[in-house]
Amino acid sequence: MSTPDLLYSEAEDDLRAAVRSLLTDRCPPATVLLEAESGRAHDIALWGALGAEMGTAGLMVPDKLGGQGATAREAAVVMEELGRAVAPVPYLTSAVLAAGTLLGCDTDQEPVARLLGALAEGRTVGALAVPLSTTAGAPGPPTATVRADGDGTLSGQVSGVAGAAGADVLLVPATGADGYGLYAVETAEASVTVEPLTSLDLTRPLAAVTLTGAPARRLAGPDRAAAAIGRALLTGAGLLASEQLGVAEWCLTETVRHTKERHQFGRPVGSFQALKHRMAALWLELVSARATARYAADALATDSPDTPVAVAVAQAHCAEVAVRAAEECVQLHGGIGMTWEHPAHLYLKRAKSDEIALGTPGRHRQALAGLVDLAAPTG
């Protein structure tokens, strides 16, 4: 196994600076809150600037298919910044999960290439119609809850789909006479219902998808669909670790800033050792979280055989670090941390949802047991 590169390249630093600058201008916490209360599925103007104009929607799509030809390493840097801003944009759901699934299909086929090109452009938004809680890295693809009928239509329901509301196209795993397959469905069809759910994470809302004889185009059959979905979920989980790192970084930075300024008992509260040790302990966790997230991104980018282990470690670790950072952020902000006006709750909700998204830490550790030969007791 070659030595993984755990640092950030100059190009990655430049990409980060561009994304951060855009998000600082267009996506401050007050705007995120307003957007979340608007009932819209995501910030359409922001996604236009970030996904289409800046080109992040097609970051991992090869040039010849209309994308930027970058790798998971660059995508991870974007995810860090999106986490730092709890940005309400469909990057994970459209640019990572949907585009990633299409990349695993036969891109020589015109319908696949055309849809991939449209997603890479950022004008069309896609979503992979599986529950967000689906465990990446689990053996086998998610079980299809949708039926493919012989007449080219789909029927059935998928619950808890992130990015479905606001998507133009759904990529739906379904089974029928031809076995397990991946199908594309336009959400504009009358036979497609996308019902938004009231979600814990206001910035990445879920929806229930109901198909009643919806016209569909088959993109992959049993030979490729399962592997394509599996790889996309693994990529999503690996990159989610970087989002969690960004969430945790914001929480620590804001907590340090607040406790330096907030005075109680005649001193800044940040000078009390009991609080300092908690913030220092969080910083320690961020150091190792960054190393695991970088390793997962590098493994995905280089298609390392160690990728499943790298993703399981990164996801199990970073999920818990992000939740702890957000919980500490609320607690160390005192009463302010409990208010709707202060953005801490947006980060707590994102962190807790991310912990469940694409597999809980416990499920990833369970996957790890199989990968590194640490079997559970029998009986």
Binding site: L6, H277, T292, L368, D373
Partner: protein, 401 residues
């Protein structure tokens, strides 16, 4: 220290050429190891970033890896960094930074080859984390200083030829300002080393009693009263000393437990499985963080992550070794040997599970307690305000003790 730039720039190719010359002149197969090490030092290939004539070539520090790899590939003997770690990590950079030319020429070569072992006489029974509170006195008498006091937790003192020593030379000054820094000859009259038996049963550390020890003023490092500033160099280098070779997956304590888990299915329980998986994952995260730190150092971006690594390994070693004793069940009730021994090397993973469990308790105390390191991270990395201090400007003699 000779300034960089006085010598022509030495690059990796030049270093490889010099390594070949060394190997040609002193074939490892037919050269006594000590002779080879001396020749390597004289060729400037000991620590390449040191000045020429003192074991180095004024080359960039990152090129040391090139030399080490070439020599390892040729099967050349190496010095024993574990046995002489205090000399390499603490004494050498301080001597280089503050010593006279004569001191550097006399001391650095046998230090590096391992002919002379060093120890450090810093900690005292009343001054551990609050090191500047030390009470060992050095009183001027003609050209000498007369030293009286007691030091503790001194590893390698029983095999050491030399020690770096800090002692109080002016009790009327506030505690940080009345300290001076010396080189102590451990063979001098008045130096008494006693084994300090620890919870493991062995005496890896020592107590050192200094009674009327005469140290010539020529063995002082830095100005009188500037000892604290000199000691900062020593301590900073102690914390940078992490690094070295890359660690493979399961390379530390977790590998021992994982192997037992694989080999002894009858010991497995569900509770232990949950905890083992979590510790395995955290060990891998810490290993990757260490690897990332090494990569940062290699490109000249040293970060504050070194103290993070020490904290992480202390915590992990304690949790993993505790799990290991529990995993062994009935066997965990036994202990390999309580005989008093005086090992030359510190070995956290040596011996058996019970030893590892007890020895790991020291990991969060030695070289800076975890609590003090957390304070340092909070204040120097995160920029949090310091706790109010009452001892800073009070003369040492007036402090409560």
């Amino acid at each position: 220290m000779s300034a960089a730039g006085q010598h022509p720039a030495v690059d990796a190719d030049e270093l490889r050429r010099r390594v070949r010359d060394l190997l040609d002149a002193h074939p490892p197969a037919t050269t006594a190891p000590l002779d080879f090490l001396r020749a390597r030092f004289d060729a400037g290939l000991a620590w390449v970033h040191y000045p020429a004539g003192l074991g180095g070539l004024d080359a960039p520090r990152s090129l040391q890896a090139v030399v080490d790899a070439e020599l390892a590939a040729a099967g050349a003997p190496d010095n024993d960094p574990r046995r002489i770690g205090i000399g390499l990590g603490m004494a050498a950079p301080t001597i280089l930074g503050f010593g006279t030319d004569e001191q550097r020429r006399r001391l650095l070569r046998p230090l590096w080859t391992g002919e002379e072992v060093w120890c450090q006489l810093f900690s005292e029974p009343g001054a551990g984390s609050d090191l500047a509170a030390l009470a060992t006195r050095a009183v001027r008498d003609g050209d000498d200083w007369v030293v009286d006091g007691q030091k503790v937790w001194t590893s390698s003192a029983h095999i050491a030829r030399w020690a770096i020593l800090i002692a109080r030379t002016d009790p009327d000054q506030p505690k940080h300002r009345g300290i001076s820094y010396f080189i102590c000859d451990m063979t001098d009259p008045g130096v008494e080393v006693r084994p300090l038996r620890q919870i493991t049963g062995e005496a890896e550390f020592n107590e050192v009693f200094l009674t009327g020890v005469r140290i010539p003023d020529s063995r002082r490092l830095g100005e009188i009263g500037e000892g604290w500033r000199v000691a900062q160099t020593t301590l900073m280098n102690e914390r940078v000393a992490i690094g070295g070779g890359r660690v493979p997956r399961e390379g530390g304590m977790i590998g021992l437990v994982a192997d037992t888990w694989r080999e002894r299915p009858e010991l497995r329980t569900h509770d232990l499985h949950q905890r083992l998986l979590r510790l395995w994952m955290e060990s891998e995260a810490a290993r990757l963080a260490g690897e990332r730190l090494r990569q940062q150092l290699a490109v000249g971006q040293p970060g504050p992550e070194g103290s993070a690594m020490k904290l992480a390994f202390a915590r992990l070693n304690q949790h993993i070794s505790a799990l290991e004793v529990e995993l062994l069940g009935e066997e965990g009730l036994g202990y390999d040997d309580w005989t008093l021994r005086r090992p030359e090397l510190v070995d956290f993973t040596g011996r058996e599970a019970g030893y590892r469990y007890l020895r790991a308790k020291g990991n969060s105390i030695e070289g800076g307690t975890s609590e003090v390191l957390l304070n340092i991270i909070a204040e120097r990395v995160l920029g949090l305000p310091p706790e109010p201090r009452t001892d800073k400007d009070v003369p040492w003699k007036d402090l409560p003790r």
